[in-house]
Amino acid sequence: MKTELDLTTGGANMARRSFLRYAGTGAAAVAVLGAASCKKDYSERSNSNDIGSGDMGVLNFAYALEQLEAAFYLQVIATPYSGITTTETAYLTDIKDHEVLHRDFFKTALGSSAIQALTPDFSKINFSDRASVLGAAKLFEDTGVRAYDGAGYLIQDTNYLLIAGKIVSVEARHAALISNLITPGSFVASDQVDANGLNYSNTIAEVLTAANGYLKTKVTAPNFQYYA
């Protein structure tokens, strides 16, 4: 077995260390790893649009999607569509708050492993039009669910897998609501749920292809066979 470490990516900071401790490695192993770290030529990922590899890559993938969703709903609430109801405003405000929290959580937890802040491109969305906004919201939520479901098996650490699981069901709750706002009763329609009652899932490459259509900063994932 040959396993060479590549020290050209990643680094250590306090936020990630506390995250790491939670991962169950144990303080001893962390100390050992620190002692065994022999090079200091870390380059941080904070200027990169490449999600990286391994679990950090999957988490950065999630962080990219949450950045996109948060930016979208912030705009929705800042410039509400015409005819928006009080109930719709309350729902969309809640969803905005959830997506902003997901974004901020990943940014904090990933620390210096986090990819850069992404600039969205919402030129295809008419924020004054209900159908345009809810249509985009449905796309983002459905894509988010498919993304987490499709990438789950790539996550090695069960603590991260659980965190992804905690988020994906909230995205699915959003997705169902948005779908019902567009067409009541469509929350498990055949565009998202197959004949076995399973939500469709997508690969990282498929999801980023869709997401990059709404991003000025294109996200790449060469370690997951996706090149923007």
């Binding site: 060479e4 470490l5 169950g24 870390y42 729902y91 708050d97 959580f105 479901d149 498990v188 009652g197």
Partner: protein, 280 residues
């Protein structure tokens, strides 16, 4: 630095490291599945997984155990909606919603049975179910659910939210299993879609504090207002994720609604056995 250097370092602390690792070659192999080059940022977490396996901190149930447990829950949910849709309790305006959910739950039963039986396992039979929650008496606390639609929805919401939590609690046991984990997560997402829709229907019928997501307080996970299901929501009030206390980033309501929490198999079976699942 390579993996062997790390293990050598650990050997100074734990002379038995090699013995711990040797019977678990598969655990070591997991590291190579990251690819030939592993970023150091990812490495500590890979080690966390490796050592958890080497030191045997987690007893891992078989995949069939997980699937049969899921099947138990799906039998119960399917039965609930099958009876519900046959008793005239559902108003016409909501009948499409409930028909969709019933369809999905029956599909889940059939899917899980097929997967288990076609993979060399044995799917369990449908258990004895008491939808009143009365352990076979038929006169449990939810006996009125098929004549009182608001009660029907309340019980449905608890079932769906509990189902979401139950699947989530099993994900770790399926880690790395592309086929089974992806299928389980895909069912998990559908249960969450159901939960959202039922909660929305309750809101539309006047339960104005009910949201499509679970909004807990600092001290109570349960947001249904029905104290009898406190256990089904125990732990939803958690605000710490990945070692980060999110209270500094948002209100309790936002923080708890943004993350759904898991339940263990023991927790779920303790809630259901002797109530909805008949225990003789």
């Amino acid at each position: 630095m390579n993996l062997f250097e790390i293990i050598d370092e650990i050997e100074k602390v734990d002379p038995e490291i090699h013995e711990r690792l040797n019977p678990r070659r598969a655990a070591i192999k997991n590291i190579t599945s990251f690819g030939s080059k592993v970023a150091v940022a990812a490495m500590p977490f890979a080690l966390g997984t490796l050592f958890k396996k080497a030191y045997g901190q987690t007893a891992t149930p078989s995949v069939f155990d997980v699937l049969n447990y899921a099947l138990t829950l799906e039998y119960l949910e399917a039965e609930y909606y099958n009876v519900g849709t046959s008793r005239g309790v559902i108003p016409a305006a909501n009948s499409a919603y409930m028909a969709n959910i019933a369809r999905d739950e029956n599909n889940h039963v059939n899917f899980l049975r097929t997967v288990i039986n076609s993979s060399g396992g044995t799917a369990i039979s449908k258990p004895a179910i008491d939808l009143s929650g009365g352990n076979g008496s038929g006169t449990g606390p939810y006996a009125g659910a098929f004549t009182n639609y608001d009660l029907f929805l309340t019980v449905a919401q608890a079932f769906e939210d509990t189902g979401v939590r139950a699947y989530k609690g099993q994900a770790g046991f399926l880690a790395g299993n592309k086929t089974v984990l992806t299928a389980a997560l895909s069912i998990h997402a559908v249960e969450a879609r159901h939960a959202s829709a039922i909660r929305q229907l309750r809101f539309n019928r006047g339960a104005t504090t009910t949201k499509p997501w679970i909004v807990s307080t600092a001290s109570l996970g349960n947001d249904t207002g029905v104290a009898g299901v406190d256990g089904n929501y125990a732990g939803e009030e958690n605000t710490v994720q990945g070692g980060v206390d999110l209270k500094s980033l948002g209100s309790i309501g936002v923080v708890t609604a943004s993350f759904d929490e898991p339940l263990t198999k023991d927790q779920v079976l303790a809630l259901l056995s002797g109530t909805f699942l008949v225990k003789r």
